[in-house]
């Protein structure tokens, strides 16, 4: 029951994600020791969740939805425009560490598609042109 009053592992990992953009190796070692769980087990947990990364991510993490409703709203052309602009393919980070691109499952803004988030902030009713204009403003 004391577990209820401690920080949950997921919340601890979220905080690291918010600080570093990914979960650094030394923190994995530290958490595994403190929580008395095997490091391999912790890797297993981290890699299960798509919001957690084991490798450094870009300054801007772009998640673009490609689930049914967004697909109907032509998310594919938006994704193509993002790939063309950032020169990053889905699941990867640009060499200059500016962009990480992820094609995500439903982001829950199905009535306003296509949608993407950049570092958690939502952008809706996207078009290829609109998405390029948004990406251009990022430094």
């Amino acid at each position: 029951m004391e577990k209820y009053f401690q920080k949950e592992l997921l919340e601890e990992l979220h905080e690291l994600r918010e600080t570093y953009g990914y979960i650094p190796e030394e923190d994995i070692v530290r958490i595994a020791q403190r929580r008395n769980i095997p490091k391999a087990h912790l890797y297993g947990v981290i890699s299960f969740y798509s919001m957690f990364h084991l490798k450094p991510t870009g300054k801007y993490i772009i998640k673009v939805c490609d689930s049914v409703s967004c697909r109907i709203a032509e998310s594919e052309s938006v994704i193509d425009a993002i790939i063309k602009f950032t020169k990053v393919t889905p699941g990867n980070t640009s060499e200059d560490k500016k962009f990480t691109l992820e094609v995500a499952e439903c982001l829950g803004h199905c009535g306003e598609g296509p949608v993407m988030t950049i570092n958690g902030e939502f952008y809706t009713y996207l078009t290829p042109q609109k998405v390029v204009n948004i990406l251009k403003t990022l430094d």
Binding site: M1, K3, Y4, E8, L9, L10, E11, L13, H14, R35, G44, V45, F48, Y49, S50, M51, F52, K63, D66, S67, V68, S69, R71, I72, A104, E105, C106, L107, G108, H109, C110, G111, E112, G113, T117, G120, E121, F122
Partner: protein, 402 residues
């Protein structure tokens, strides 16, 4: 045409917590009785009667019990829980506290999907305020009742919407489903009795408790009481979250009268309740929106995530998209779900047109569906082939957009 019930109190300056006050005036059993009488069914997708669940949780004798609000909304096409959390956060929290009182629990979680940053911020701030105003914490509103509520964020795994996966996830494990029995109500989070309810179910419970009589009894049909939030998207003119009285409106009404009709051509098909439910063709939509009527069509209300697809769309691309979703999101624990969704995906991607699929291949998919239905633990696997197979069966007639 909207029936405002859950959406009451939108934009209210000061939320009065009338439902909670009423609940605390009676015994936990009184609350259980009222929810049971109301006929409220779980709004997460399965539609299990909430009152029966609460009654069972109430009857279990244990000093420590947990209440979990499932806010891991991730079903494609579904955004009604986000609507509630962003616009009526007090009502959501009120519903959680009422449930806790009814089942005699003092500890709760709201598990919100990590991508819903705005909802997370709103709910976290509200919880902080409500501790200050004594709606949460010790001696709630001057009574003997104590209840603590914490937010935990999901981290991008659709399957955690399954209650047993969600419990594993809170415990810091991979979000894998657990074998039932034991039910979470018997042995759930950290081994303690745990009741899990969806955001909309709890909000409805809070609204029901506001009234001296039982408003749900006067709405809906015998098997589908009350109202349901429908989030509608896809090829419609006015997508959004609409509240409808069950049984008083057809799917056709929802599309044409509430959502402003089909955009981009004529109706091809509609997915009534998220991609876990079977598609309905234009000749099937003049049907009252109820659990029982949609079940007769082998489909369902599901999460209330309605997706409208016009006849100009490429249906085969859409089922491939849904197949990708299930392939990517299976937790991988149950072999039939993991391998079958991968195989279906490969089979679909092997063909360029829907009409290229042979009857033998469709037969294979039909058999796979049956196998997953029997052999996977959670609703994810059991429902994963419904939509795909329904499109293959109903619309594989060699049309150009297939």
């Amino acid at each position: 045409m909207e029936k405002i019930f859950l959406k009451n109190d939108l934009g209210l300056d000061k939320y009065p917590f009338k439902g909670l006050r009423n609940a605390l005036k009676g015994s936990p059993e009184d609350v259980v009785q009222k929810i049971k009488e109301s006929g409220l069914r779980g709004r997460g997708g399965a539609g299990f009667p909430a009152g029966i669940k609460w009654e069972y949780a109430n009857s279990i004798d244990n000093e420590i019990k947990f209440v979990i609000c499932n806010a891991d909304e991730g079903e494609p096409g579904t955004f009604k829980d986000r609507f509630l959390m962003e616009n009526l956060p007090e009502k959501v929290i009120e519903g959680i506290i009422i449930c806790a009182y009814a089942v005699k629990s003092n500890y709760g979680y709201i598990y919100i999907r990590g991508e819903y940053e705005k909802a997370i911020k709103i709910i976290k701030n509200k919880i902080k305020d409500l501790y200050k105003s004594n709606v949460l914490g010790r001696n709630i509103l001057g009574t003997e009742f104590n209840f603590d509520l914490k937010v935990i964020r999901g981290a991008g795994a659709y399957v955690c919407g399954d209650e047993t996966s969600l419990i594993n996830s809170i415990e810091g494990e991979r979000g894998r489903s657990r074998i039932k029995p034991p039910l979470p109500i018997e042995k759930g989070l950290y081994g303690y009795p745990t009741i899990v309810n969806n955001v909309e179910t709890l909000s409805a419970a809070a609204e029901i408790m506001k009234y001296d009589d039982n408003p749900y009894l006067k709405m809906g049909t015998e098997k589908s009481r009350g109202t349901k939030l429908v989030s509608i998207s896809g090829d419609v003119n006015q997508p959004g979250v609409y509240e409808v009285e069950l049984g008083k409106i057809t799917i056709k009404n929802i599309i044409e009268d509430l959502a402003g009709g089909v955009s981009n051509g004529e109706l091809g098909f509609v997915i009534p309740g998220g991609v876990a439910t079977e598609a309905l063709g234009p000749d099937e939509i003049d049907v009252p929106y109820t659990y029982e009527n949609l079940m007769e069509l082998n489909s369902g209300i599901g999460s209330g995530g309605m997706i409208v697809v016009s006849n100009k769309r490429n249906y085969f691309e859409i089922i491939k998209n849904v197949s990708n979703f299930f392939k990517n999101e299976t937790c991988g624990t149950c072999f039939p779900c993991r391998e079958a969704n991968r195989n279906i995906n490969a089979l679909l991607n092997h063909n360029k047109l829907m009409s290229d699929l042979t009857s033998e291949q469709i037969e294979i998919i039909t058999e796979i569906k049956e196998t997953i239905g029997y052999a996977s633990r959670c609703g994810f696997g059991q429902a994963s082939v419904n939509f795909i197979l329904s499109v293959l069966e109903k619309f594989n007639d060699g049309r150009v957009n297939s």
